[in-house]
């Protein structure tokens, strides 16, 4: 486990270095991107010096990295502390992503099991078909449809998220639409994984024995099939974390949800390496954490069965 942690951490550092280099390769830089139209070349050069952009990229990367242990994520091109920019945005995204992940897990497990109870029955075919269709829907289509139906036409739910003085959504109902917009496509994806894993496991010898023993189908499912399928299901959900964070960028824009999506999008426009790297580091850490958790689940479940 320790080696895995080290390997994942090293991967994160490489990823961050890549982020710095990629921003460097984009045309223009933070000094030009944040300048005003009337500024002369000399003014922009001065801004470049103020931002330290005249130094080599590796030096800047090292400076930024060396601040990490003290939780210092550097300063944005507009002079705001990156930790300030992310302090309410990142937790908000985590809440949204976490909620969507939980909903996805519950829904896909439920649907997958329901379908597995009657293999090739009507329910099974309906669930699998719908799952495939939904999986192909982009988040923004789902989001716009939800917005129109559940808010603008019916007035049941708030259309966008507004925030309070503490930086969090002012009402919990504002979380429903963005969470659903993220959950629906991911549930399509995960239901298929759950269904496939259950089908694989159903062919295992110990399951067949249980069926021949005359155990009721739901008991076979919960006690014999599901435990074996769990590692695959967990891995699928772990992969969803990355996709949920990616989808959040789109969904947050549509619902004006105050998360990292908006921060990241504007940081890219501004060529603002410290901000982009800050978002990447946090998102990377979360995904790494979830993947480790999935590994742990696999180790525990397979370990207990050996």
């Amino acid at each position: 486990m320790g080696a895995v942690v080290l390997k994942r951490a090293a991967l994160l550092v490489v990823l961050l270095a890549l982020v710095f280099l990629t921003v460097e390769l984009l045309p223009g830089d933070a000094a030009a991107a944040t300048s005003e139209r009337g500024e002369s070349a000399a003014d922009i050069e001065r801004r470049r010096e103020l931002l330290g952009l005249n130094r080599p990229v590796l030096e800047r990367f090292w400076d930024w990295m060396s601040g990490l242990p003290t939780a210092d994520l550097g300063t944005s091109a507009r002079g705001e502390k990156v930790t300030d920019l992310l302090s309410s945005a990142f937790p908000n995204t985590l809440v949204l992503g976490g909620l969507a992940l939980l909903l996805t897990a519950a829904l896909s497990l439920g649907l997958g099991c329901w379908a597995a109870l009657r293999p090739d029955g009507r329910v099974d075919r309906a669930v699998s078909g719908t799952a495939t269709a939904v999986l192909a829907l982009p988040e923004f289509v789902v989001a716009v449809a939800l917005l129109l139906v559940l808010s603008l036409w019916t007035g049941w739910l708030p259309a966008v998220t507004l925030t309070d003085a503490d930086g969090t959504p002012s009402d919990w109902t504002m979380l429903i639409l963005p969470a659903l917009a993220l959950t629906i496509p991911q549930t399509g994806w995960n239901t298929r994984i759950v269904r496939a894993a259950l089908a694989d496991e159903a062919r295992a010898p110990h399951v067949e024995t249980a069926v021949l023993d005359g155990l009721p189908p739901h008991r076979v499912l919960t006690h014999h099939v599901l435990p074996g399928a769990l590692p695959t299901v967990t891995a699928g959900l772990a992969t969803s974390t990355g996709m949920l964070l990616g989808g959040a960028v789109v969904v947050e824009t549509i619902f004006n949800y105050p998360g990292i999506g908006s921060v990241l999008a504007s940081a890219v426009t501004d060529r603002d390496s410290p901000v982009i790297a800050g978002v990447t580091a946090l998102a990377g850490a979360v995904i790494t954490g979830v993947l480790l958790l999935a590994d742990l689940v696999r180790d525990l479940t397979t370990g207990s069965r050996r």
Partner: protein, 510 residues
């Protein structure tokens, strides 16, 4: 000469700074009703979370930030209708005979939110701080830091390097005044002098409460809540769902969506934004004035306004600064004349077998669409144009100021001289078309050095005629600024550009 905000490539509309009015005109509804005191106005404004700034002299790309700052802090002057500069923190101003030395006198009773009076020292400190920013030279052009001094307790003296009849216009936008000695560390806490005081700020959202002691007159609203929105669509959704009362500068697309709703008022602010096509005059295929004339005759202006701006705009006449009180309406409006255009192209021996590239970006809505429609229209005159969309950063880096044919945009349209000085005088720093014209330079210098208003108007007419005849700009139309508001909102500003942030006269009907 007017300062232009707006980060390059940031897709910002902050370049906007049109006229506004000291006392904003009444809104579309209830214009004559008597204002009612009280209520909280929830305003949506565009902004990107990563580009937030709290510094009134900082590099501002967010409308939301600018709105918050201009409600808390006051500038020396503000946009007006006629004249286009109205007093604010500076109650009056006076120029020396040579138009180089300007004295601004502080309004009586002006106080910071903490109760301390505003002195000339605070103004000197703030203006010097502004001047010392990287954008300082363009925000206060021609005024060196050492030439900003105090005279007595209530007068600040600005000495320009050259005669400048429009200097007070320059102080309309970012000359926010903060107390003397405010450090960068404390900038977010600096008290202002404006109509509202900051209650809280978080992540681009803010709540502002009425300043009971504002020297500028009665403020009707109890509070204004500013909500940051990344996209105009989300802002329009919020308005339609009743989550906000005002969607500031939300644009034509949202206005069209809201047209069917009787309970939503669309406030149109004419002359808000110019998106001219730049034709390089210095060299290249458009260097011949006849070719440029031909393209100006080939464009179908009415179709452009109708399709690109959804009709929310007006046809323009290739002269920038349409909102200027001195804008020359006597110059005949150019209309489409394909026969004449073809003739001119033939005379100029223009190579119609070649395809010319027109560069554009998607910085603001409608810009890329304008390029595409233009390309279709000029094809009918025999000019083949291919539209090349560039990513914003690349566009400003590689194409702007250099390209042969490209789109640009400006949000300031209330001064002919501003455009002349910034983009057309031979040595201007942002000469977008590389245009050099001695007669134009001469007319400009005379105009800016003339104190007498009617004499200056005459000189400005000359200037506009030359611009109309031979500059590198094809200005087909002017976009309206569009705000959407709920039925209860009254007293909204109707002037273009930065006029929209002047919400101190707004009120809510009961």
């Amino acid at each position: 000469m007017l300062w232009l905000g707006g980060a390059i490539g940031a897709g910002t509309l902050l370049t906007a700074c049109g006229g506004g009015d000291e006392e904003p005109a009444a809104s579309a509804t209830g214009g004559t009703a008597k204002p009612v005191k009280g209520g909280t106005l929830r305003v949506g404004a565009l902004g990107r979370a990563g580009a937030i700034t709290r510094d009134p002299h900082g590099s501002q790309a967010n409308e939301s930030d600018y709105l918050i700052l201009s409600l808390i802090y006051d500038t020396l002057t503000v946009p007006g209708a006629k004249p286009n500069t109205a007093p604010r923190l500076a109650a009056s101003w006076k120029a020396s005979d040579d138009l180089k030395t300007w004295r601004f006198t502080i309004a009586k009773g002006a106080k910071f939110h903490d109760g301390s009076p505003v002195t000339a020292e605070d103004l000197v400190f703030s203006l010097k701080r502004l001047r010392a920013t990287p954008a300082g030279a363009s925000r206060l052009p021609g005024i060196q830091e050492k030439n900003i001094t105090a005279e007595g307790t209530d007068t600040v003296v600005l000495v320009s390097d050259y005669a400048n009849a429009e200097l007070p216009l320059l102080t309309r936008l970012t000359t926010f005044v903060i107390p003397k000695g405010t450090t960068d560390k404390d900038i977010a806490k600096a008290p202002g002098t404006g109509p509202f005081k900051l209650d809280w700020f978080r992540g681009g959202n803010a709540r502002l409460v009425r300043n009971e002691d504002w020297y500028g007159g009665d403020v009707h609203l109890d509070a204004i809540e500013v909500k940051i929105f990344e996209s105009p669509q989300a802002m329009a959704s919020a308005l339609l769902a009743g989550q906000i009362d005002l969607a500031s500068n939300v644009g034509a697309v949202a206005a069209r969506t809201a047209e069917s709703r009787k309970d939503i008022q669309a406030v149109r602010r004419p002359n808000d934004m110019a998106m001219p096509i730049v034709m390089r005059t210095a060299d290249g295929p458009f260097a011949d004035a006849k070719v440029r004339e031909a393209l100006r005759l080939a464009v179908d202006r009415e179709a452009m306004v109708k399709q690109v701006l959804s009709g929310y705009g007006t046809v323009a006449n290739d002269i920038l600064g349409t909102g200027d009180p001195a804008f020359d309406k006597s110059i005949p409006q150019r209309t489409r004349d394909l026969a004449k255009a073809k003739e001119l192209l033939k005379e100029a021996k223009f190579d119609t077998s070649k395809t010319y590239e027109l560069y554009t970006t998607e910085d603001i809505s409608g810009l890329a669409e304008s390029a595409t429609l233009f390309a279709t229209q000029v094809r009918e005159a025999g000019v083949k144009v291919k539209v090349v969309k560039q990513e914003s950063g690349t566009f400003w880096d590689k194409t702007w100021l250099k390209g042969d044919l490209y789109t640009t945009y400006w949000g300031t349209n209330d001064s002919v001289v501003f455009f002349a000085s910034k983009t057309m005088v031979s040595d201007s720093g942002q000469n977008e078309a590389g245009w050099k014209d001695e007669a134009f330079d001469e007319a400009y210098e005379k105009a800016i050095g003339t104190a007498d208003a009617s004499a200056r108007t005459q000189l400005l007419k000359q200037l506009q005629q030359i611009e109309y005849d031979s500059s590198g700009y094809l200005l087909w139309g002017m976009a309206d600024g569009i705000d959407l508001a709920g039925a209860k909102v009254n007293g909204l500003p109707t002037l273009p550009g930065y006029g929209r942030v002047q919400l101190e006269q707004a009120w809510l009907a009961r």
